[in-house]
């Protein structure tokens, strides 16, 4: 299975703006005009108040690690060279939580540690928002 490629996101229609933003190194999320709250994953109505009036807004790109795990088992051959790697739930300061990677060494990662977004090119057209510890 050598040479396997990592899966790329296959965006739903409602999340295209998230990935377009990432290509420009902006962490964009939907934010409700009616109640002012951000949400994730993207959808066409605010899950807090069901308003359909919203904008895509850039977040600060900072937050804390709510929880994390370290993959030791290879679930997909393209990640064989990456193990052990960290997958985390990052809670942005704006509220929403996202699945991402922490690019630091696994033994340095802790719950509640502060992190900042670090954009990484997956290929010519796709940029992934990963996170790094704030020193």
């Amino acid at each position: 299975m050598a040479g396997a490629e990592k899966p790329l996101p296959r965006p739903a229609p409602e999340s295209r703006a998230f990935w377009e933003g990432a290509k420009e190194k902006k962490l964009m999320l939907p934010c409700c005009d009616a109640c002012g709250k951000f949400w994730f994953p993207p959808s066409q109505r605010c899950p807090h108040c069901l308003s359909s009036n919203f904008d895509w807004r850039e977040t600060k790109g900072e937050g804390r690690i709510y929880s994390f795990v370290v993959y030791h088992r290879v679930y997909h051959p393209a990640f064989e060279a990456d193990v052990p790697y960290v997958v985390a739930i990052v809670e942005l300061d704006e509220g929403p939580r996202l699945i991402t990677n922490i690019i630091d060494a696994p033994d340095r990662v802790r719950c509640d540690a502060r992190v900042r977004v670090r954009f990484e090119e997956a290929d010519a057209d796709v940029v992934l928002p990963k996170f790094a510890l704030i020193e």
């Binding site: 790329l8 994953p41 679930y75 990456d82 997958v87 699945i99 997956a122």
Partner: protein, 393 residues
């Protein structure tokens, strides 16, 4: 708020139960495993398929209208039949819906069950083994997961374990005690998929899967099925097997998601359990044995807290007291559970609860003087929960 109705307390009973061969059963489909378990459940209480007028099942994720396939194989039509979509919480929900259908006069005798071929399915090819393919790929996430190397249920639950360790100081030694206790139970269960004793040394030498979980924190990949027959308590008394009363049931679903709020460390077992306790008219101190959904060691620990067997954050100390072992304060997963008997998505927990309430096991497997069993189901993207309370008749 409308309270769970005590009218349903002890209204129905489980009249019969059965399981199929468990573990590695190559060459047999999940449907045929389930029919095997259903035939055993019918035989257990002396009924035939023609006596069944209701079916509630949950299919494998790639089966459409599963209850129809079951009726076809049993050669029966049904006054009431459906199949459910709450993952591992479906199996108890099936029993609850059966009791509600009987109470509503829509059926008299309902067959509930679940079967899977997860061992065979994940051992068809090297690719299937590596990717752990128990679900069709079309149901996998398309974004916000796989591109970050996030796959599988192990990691989803390991997130909860990690946060619980951070907030409450829970340790891997405490997870180990859960794996060891259930394995000890499996050594007395001749049907269990794995019966070899497990030591703490074995546990800590095992390879990490997705830390904080290692191999022994994870449930088994199993082929197998279980089935139960629900009818009125009155009718159940006239059948061959000793009936077991359905004292109460409940459910709750944290549909906001496993990652939202504190759902990973304060699970829907809390509200689901409270509903079941209210219907049954009892509390946690009345429960003699628990059969908990143990897809991972951590899920046992957090449910013990959420069901009120100990306080929030004290699940680790509770298990380390030896509570889960035979002779402990709450013998739990006395068949070995999904960690050691076989993982059939909570269905075998119901079967074991019924058998404990019949009180007919040899003494080394029987929870002494047990009158009340609490059984749990968990699944559906980790947020669906169901609870069943059974009582000795």
């Amino acid at each position: 708020m409308i309270e769970p109705s005590p009218r349903l307390r002890n209204r129905c009973a489980i009249a019969g139960c059965g399981n199929s061969r468990l573990g590695q059963v190559p060459g047999v489909s999940s449907l045929d495993l389930l029919i095997e378990a259903m035939a055993n459940a019918l035989d257990d209480c002396g009924l035939t398929a023609k006596d069944i007028d209701g079916i509630v099942t949950r299919g494998p994720d790639d089966a459409y209208c599963h209850h129809q396939l079951i009726g076809e194989r049993l050669g029966i039509n049904a006054r009431f039949s459906t199949s459910l979509d709450n993952g591992g919480a479906s199996q108890i929900l099936a029993v609850a819906i059966a009791a509600m259908a009987i109470d509503a006069g829509l059926a008299t005798t309902v067959l509930c069950g679940y079967g899977r071929d997860a061992w065979s399915r994940t051992h068809r090819s090297e690719g299937a083994r590596v990717r752990n393919l128990t679900r069709p790929e079309s149901q996998h996430a398309q974004e916000f997961g796989p591109e970050f190397g996030y796959f599988g249920a192990v990691a989803a639950h390991a997130f909860g374990a990690q946060r619980h360790m951070h907030e409450f100081g829970t340790t891997r030694e405490q997870f180990a005690e859960i794996a060891l206790a259930f394995r000890e139970h499996a050594t007395r269960n001749p049907a269990a998929q794995i019966q070899a004793p497990l030591t703490a040394e074995d546990y800590f030498k095992a390879r990490l899967i997705v830390s904080p979980f290692n191999l022994y924190d994870c449930s088994l990949r199993s082929d197998g099925a279980g089935a139960v027959i629900v009818t009125t308590a009155e009718r159940a008394r006239d059948l061959r097997a000793r009936p077991v009363l359905i004292r109460g049931f409940g459910s709750f679903n944290n549909l906001s998601g496993w990652f939202a709020d504190e759902n990973m460390i304060k699970t829907a077992a809390k509200e689901s359990g409270e509903a079941a306790y209210r219907m049954a008219g009892i509390g946690p101190s009345d429960v003699d044995t628990a059969q908990l959904y143990d897809c991972f060691t951590y899920m046992v620990l957090v449910q013990l807290e959420d069901y009120g067997f100990c306080r929030k954050g004290e699940g680790g100390a509770f298990v380390q007291s030896g509570a889960l072992r035979m002779g402990g304060s709450l013998p739990t997963n006395t068949s070995g559970g999904q960690l050691s008997e076989a993982h059939v998505e909570g269905m075998l927990q119901i079967v074991e609860g019924v058998r404990q309430m019949r009180g007919a096991y040899p003494s080394e497997r029987q929870v002494k003087d047990a009158e009340v069993a609490l059984i749990s189901g968990h699944g559906g993207n980790q947020v669906c929960h169901s609870t069943l309370i059974l009582g000795r008749a």
